[in-house]
Subunit: 179 residues, 2 copies
Amino acid sequence: MKGYTYRTGDSEPSTHLPLWEALVTDSVGDVIEFWGFKRNHGRVWALLYIRREPMNARQIQEDLELSKGAVSMISRDLEQWNVVSRVRHPGSSAWHFVAEVDFMEMITHVLQEREGELIRRVSTDLKDAEKLARESKEVEQETLDRIKRMRTLAGLMQQALDIFMKTARLDVSDTRDLL
Amino acid sequence: MKGYTYRTGDSEPSTHLPLWEALVTDSVGDVIEFWGFKRNHGRVWALLYIRREPMNARQIQEDLELSKGAVSMISRDLEQWNVVSRVRHPGSSAWHFVAEVDFMEMITHVLQEREGELIRRVSTDLKDAEKLARESKEVEQETLDRIKRMRTLAGLMQQALDIFMKTARLDVSDTRDLL
DNA sequence: CCGTAAGTTCACGAGGTTTTGAACACCTAT
DNA sequence: ATAGGTGTTCAAAACCTCGTGAACTTACGG
């Protein structure tokens, strides 16, 4: 099972960040990790989101206690997913980052892909399995039925996930207006 | 009876199981893994499900090429989740396992718990964060709003997941009647 | 009871993923 | 052009999770 289970005991949140900021960034980190992203994707986005002004890589690195390389890679990811954008800040030669507000978009988007890929593969494999089982006599009807049942189940799963993602996105854009 | 089979190349599914069975068990393994369980949870359950008759640990171990210990632990988990039950088989001193049909139940159940735990923690952390931020002046209103927004977002997430799980369960029990 | 087979537990290691940091490449301002 | 700060890459390190198998415990049959 993935990492969303626990945070180590007392979990002293990052040292020199105000406690409340640490709580926010870590929370978002945990949630995002639940969805199969890296914890630090969430932490970086959250930091940018509550700071509300462009930050350069160096500040992020210090505040979240990450390495140079990590910040570079994480922010590239976030940028690619359009939840963070990179801007020039007057009076500085460094890039600065700002948070976009719709990160639910990102979650649903990436989930969409991952899930699609999975379901596609499973569906064809099960179809093959059914065909093979049917050819090799000796397999009872009830067994064939069970394979078929699993196939419809895969379909239902996809459907359900789609619904989930649609409502999620809907709910969040509602929220966005709200602010 | 050493294994002479040595297949290079792509994705050779477990060797001595009929190909179609391997396809089925591996597929279920992949799906279940997506949901944050172990791959072998899915494989064991699927094997029992298609075989349709009680199997003892030894058979499972051989068919899926697992270790003694693994089979023991995996089947304990499955049993705890009520997707497999342990029965006495006449004429044998060993326990035998059979698959229950509703494993969507299990997914939703366990997800329910894990997700609940997570959301609960995140909610209180964000509540604390908001309180702290408010106390330490210097924090602008807009920032407070953003924290609040994240809180409602956590709530929405929970809600969405609930909906998803309900529909999933519903769809599946439909399917169950269907057989 | 005893002997044997079945079942459980757990320290360890293999395998996989994330982070690090040093080397390298790229800008920008002078 | 070039110096110095910025940004990226990637091999190695740290980390985490799972499966293994030997040691142990339990249960059954005789």
